[in-house]
């Protein structure tokens, strides 16, 4: 059972020591990592994903439940408590979606094959373009690949810690993704430039120059701001889907939806 992960300080880009003693995240917590590009956001979640022990470029160390994880946990995919969705929107593996998930389930020591269909079904909730089980993963679009990998992380990776690197970038229904994963007892970490995701997270880690600059907790105004932004976001989403479908924005449409 994983209750906490702890990040111990490493070095910033100039080689100086990071200015915090330790950073502990608890099960059920959602956390956003924010900061300009190149500030070290992806490096931070890579450290978590690899359970770095001073052997990454940042020299950070990661503890699980306060202890150094065993080699078995670090290196055996079946034991790995972490699933990460990277910014990659391309698969190189020349397999059908079905075969890909089957082998991944085997790597994660899941015997029940029901999970494969469930994963494809879940992925199809996140994307407007349907993924067929026979489609080769090499030809999936960016949005489809993201959706599939997120569904895979939730159901096949089924890990207590989920890391999501800029999920807002790939034409998926991010609200659906957030709804499904936020009410779990997992530790969810978003790397994001999206204000809605950042404001909805309980904690925000702010990165600068390769280092953790500060950690903020969500305040009550931010919860309200998030609710407002979410409403706005739905409207933007509504128009986006209309445009994608080739519709025109008419006076009536505006009246009904934006009155």
């Amino acid at each position: 059972m994983i209750n906490t992960i702890t990040i111990l300080p490493g070095l910033d880009k100039a080689g100086g020591k990071e200015n915090y003693r330790h950073l502990t995240l608890t099960a059920g917590e959602t956390v956003s990592i924010v900061g300009p590009t190149g500030s070290g956001k992806t490096a931070l979640i890579s450290d978590i994903e690899l359970l770095a022990q001073g052997d990454s470029s940042t020299r950070r160390r990661i503890l699980i439940n306060g202890k150094i994880p065993s080699d078995e946990i670090r290196y055996n995919p079946a034991m790995k408590p972490i699933a990460m969705i990277t910014q990659n929107t391309k698969c190189f593996t020349d397999l059908s979606t079905m075969e890909f998930l089957k082998i991944h389930a085997r790597a994660r020591k899941i015997i029940d094959e029901k999970v494969i269909i469930e994963t494809i079904d879940l992925a199809n909730k996140f994307t407007g373009e349907k993924i067929d089980r026979e489609t080769r993963v090499t030809v999936l679009s960016g949005g489809q690949t993201r959706s599939l990998l997120i569904a895979d992380a939730i159901l096949i990776g089924a890990a207590p810690i989920i890391l999501l690197d800029e999920i807002e970038n790939a034409g998926i229904f991010k609200q659906e993704v957030i709804d499904i994963i936020k009410n779990t007892s997992k530790i969810i970490i978003f790397v994001t430039h999206d204000p809605v995701i950042a404001l909805l997270s309980k904690k925000r880690i702010i990165m600068e120059n390769g280092a953790v600059k500060k950690v903020l907790s969500q305040n009550e105004f931010e919860t309200k701001a998030a609710a407002n932004l979410l409403e706005l976001d739905k409207q933007v989403g509504f128009i986006r889907e209309k445009l994608r479908a080739g519709d025109e924005i008419t006076k009536d449409l505006i009246k009904v939806n934006f009155a």
């Binding site: 290196y75 969705i85 990277t86 698969c91 593996t93 991944h104 790597a107």
Partner: protein, 236 residues
């Protein structure tokens, strides 16, 4: 002296990995490096210039490169020992995939790129199945799920292989590899043998092996029932 034999297809990241290993150990060990390649190689110059270590290279030219490796390794080990090397790193080119350059002592490392394709581990035969350690490189280019699928495929070929995932350019997560190198035993240069079977020139009966039964032979073999051809190569 410790021995590392590094193999893998071109552009998998063998030299990047070698550089990380050299960077890690250069201050505590004398390192010698040999590159075996067919036509052209620059690794010896690069490593010599960057880390001031002892380097050598050979080109196999028209000779089968693994054959060339077997021929020169004796002298090369002698050379490294004469220079008082503590660690001898041999980097072989990814060659015809029939053989593997690993020896019965030291560590055999296969370097595979995350983007090399899902069937690569099976196609590479003895280079994967006789290795002690597989280092999967370029992990920053693919998703975690995809890496785990590739690792599963490697494990299908060789269940006991020690797997290490890295971004070799940055040297992430190589701590375990360094520990394995540190713990690896000193070699006895009088007792170095190829780990795998060399390819057939003649069959094992021709060279005088007397054991009865196809399981004891390789080359042109035949079972009581069944085709000859499907046993021509039994793999390792």
């Amino acid at each position: 002296m410790k021995l590392l034999v590094i193999a893998g297809p071109p552009s998998a990241g063998k030299t990047s990995l070698t550089k990380q290993i050299v960077r890690r150990f250069k201050d505590e060990m004398t390192i010698a490096f040999l590159k075996i390649d067919v036509v052209k190689a620059y690794e010896d110059i690069e490593l010599g210039r960057e880390f001031k270590i002892l380097t050598k290279k050979i080109y196999s030219g028209d000779l089968c490169p693994d054959h060339a490796g077997v021929m020169v390794l004796g002298d090369a080990v002698e050379w490294a020992e004469s220079k008082h090397a503590d660690l001898f790193v041999v980097e072989s080119a990814g060659l015809c995939l029939r053989c593997s350059p690993y020896l019965n002592q030291g560590l055999g490392i296969i370097v595979l790129s995350s983007i090399s394709g899902i069937h690569a581990p099976e196609k590479m035969g003895a280079m994967v199945s006789l290795a002690d350690i597989a280092v999967v490189t370029k992990i920053d280019l693919v998703s975690q799920a995809e890496r785990e699928v590739l690792i599963q495929k490697i494990k299908d070929v060789h269940p006991n292989l020690i797997l290490i995932e890295t971004n070799a350019l940055q040297g992430t997560s190589l701590h375990r590899l360094y520990e394995l190198i540190k713990q690896s035993e000193e070699i006895d240069s009088d007792k170095l043998y190829l780990k795998g079977n060399p390819p057939i020139g003649t069959c094992t009966i021709c060279v005088g092996k007397k054991e009865i039964g196809w399981k004891h032979h390789f080359g042109v073999i035949k079972k009581l029932d069944g085709q000859i051809a499907e046993y021509l190569y039994r793999g390792e």
